[in-house]
């Protein structure tokens, strides 16, 4: 499904350009959930931005494909229509644009790009109501401008709300657990797990093993200095939690 080969990327321009991804290779088959763990500055967020096409990052080598399609040559909106979804580490505030309006615009833009019919207003509202219930979101919140005045936890839940509404094919969750208390974490994980399907893939980026107790990964990768240095099963996450990154990093060299 998602295939990344020997990806290198820099951030910054000219002499200030700094290599963040340095020959990263990774494959997430359909139906699987993979976790990426790693110390600060390993390139975790850069990977999520390079995959979704944020400006300011230059890909200097390698490939990234989703179902065989070259992601790196597409505009961000085309990647989204293809099914790429990023749950932001720091969701952005959009003053003046209500959540429902925003999500419906996004949904219809994606459908249009895929040559599908728009969703009807009653269908949209019904779907939104159901998902808000699963995530224990106050329906009033969905009438307010996107993320404006929301708490950290509300913002993260709103990311998952958007993900469930848009039903992407591949999801990247960038530190979705940061800023969540244990109850919110459980709610968010329920939403994420509801989206697990044989046709979907997921990349869960996190610092801590805690989130992986709720979203059970098929594989765990350790990212350091811009490349995957170790891959294992869920037990690898537990080992990292117990021993810290130092042991694993030393072993890999």
């Amino acid at each position: 499904m998602l295939k990344i080969e020997n990806l290198t990327a820099t951030v910054g321009e000219g002499e200030d350009a700094k290599t963040i991804l340095n020959g990263l290779s990774l494959a997430v088959p359909a139906g699987e959930v993979h976790a990426i763990m790693g110390p600060n500055g390993a390139g975790k967020s850069t990977l999520s931005y390079v995959l979704t096409g944020r400006e300011g990052y230059a890909v200097t080598g390698g490939t990234a494909t989703l179902d065989g399609a070259d992601l790196l040559s597409m505009e961000p909106e085309a990647r989204a229509a293809k099914g790429m979804f990023l749950s932001f580490q720091y969701p952005v505030e959009i003053p003046g644009v209500p959540v429902m309006t925003f999500v419906r615009t996004a949904m219809n833009a994606q459908r249009k790009a895929r040559g599908e019919a728009e969703i009807s207003a009653p269908d949209f509202i019904k779907k939104s109501r159901e998902i808000a219930k699963v995530l224990s979101l106050d329906p009033e919140m969905l009438k307010r401008p996107v993320n404006v005045g929301f708490s950290g936890g509300e913002k993260k839940r709103l990311e998952i709300y958007q993900m469930m509404m848009l039903e992407p094919r591949f999801m990247v969750l960038d530190e979705t657990d940061s800023g969540l208390d244990i109850d919110a974490l459980r709610t968010v994980a329920e939403g994420v797990n509801a989206l697990r399907a044989p046709s979907r893939g997921m990349l869960v980026i996190t610092h801590y093993q805690r989130l992986l107790d709720y979203i059970k990964p098929d594989k765990v990768h350790v990212l350091a200095k811009g490349r995957i240095i170790k891959t294992g099963g869920p037990e690898l996450a537990h080992r990292l939690e117990a021993e810290g990154y130092d042991g694993v990093l030393a072993e890999a060299v």
């Binding site: 944020r54 505009e75 909106e77 932001f88 969701p91 952005v92 959009i94 003046g96 615009t105 833009a109």
Partner: protein, 408 residues
Amino acid sequence: MSAALKDLIRNPTVAELELVARFAALKADPRRERLFEAFAQTGLPGRRVEGWRWTDFKTAVTSMEAPKSAPPRDPLAREGVATLRFTPSGYAAPSALPEGLRLLVKDDVQAMGGAEAAPLGALAAALSGGKTPGTLLVDVSAGAPVHLHMVFEGPGALNAARVVFLLRPGAELQVTESHLGGAALSTALIEFTLNKNARLHRTVYQIGGASEAQAVTAIIEQDAGAESLQTTLAFGAKVARLETRLVHRETGSKATLNAAYLAGAGLQADITTHVRHGAPSCVTRQLTKGAVLDGGRGVFQGKFHVPRTTGQQTDASMQHNALLLEEGAEVFAKPELEILADDVQCAHGNTSGALDAAQLFYLRQRGIPLVQARAILTEAFIAQALEGAGGMEEALRAEATAWLTHAA
């Protein structure tokens, strides 16, 4: 043309000579002469005139040839609302006006206070009425709120119009104005006197072509407890100046002056305001938002004058925020607070910049194409400036949205 008349304007341009000729052809009237002289001090104002550095009518009005452009539609027109129509050939008024409104046509020209400070307003006053010179007065008496619509449109060379409103104590008027251009030079002077506790709700829509010059000058004087709420949406023209000069002349008067401007390639929109706090405990709220494309120009000039003797307990705020949507967009801003009183609350803010890259990426990551993402963010950015337009807000927003989706 007499030598004296010709010499009124120093080094006149072709267009200015044409204006002198038009003035000379009108019935002699000492007040008209006084108004034209006030205009002639600067002629068509341009770069060298204080307050006109960025909005150069002298250079822009190259001739008085009627432009050939399809008339734009009027988004503020409403079925059943009394409408005054001003064109280069004169004005047309409905035979029956709603209760509370009285239309008076004065044969002689009425004086205009501060004519020198508003040269294009003075020009409108001096040349208004065309072949039927005079001044149009609208008397508004207390009672149920009344709505009057005014349209200023071509085709023609010069559209000069003047209307004087008197809002009697406690009167409430909603006035909507569509300045649709269609003339080489359109200049409108609209004066409002708000007596005690009168309320004015004014909505201004301006659109013009890339070969047209437009000026809308409003002079507002407010007595005790009077309240005005003004909302403007301007798309600019080759040059377009929307100027409001407001005086709080008695205690407890309130004014809200909101405006949004959207200037595309080859177009300029200028929002200029001058507010004098001539009495204590008056309130002014001003919010101007703008968005400009490559080759477009936005101008904001706001001045609050709060004298030491009369301006105590003034509560005033001025905010201007501009978006430069593309490289090559220009915005000039000059906020000016002249506050001599010491017991006042005055705030101001002025920003200009590009759309936020993080916001744009967030929208695009969700699948919204770049052009649409820009339009959504820009509309959200200017929306607050149109919120006060009440029943007209939706119509103004629809025009802004259409512009953003097609132009941006």
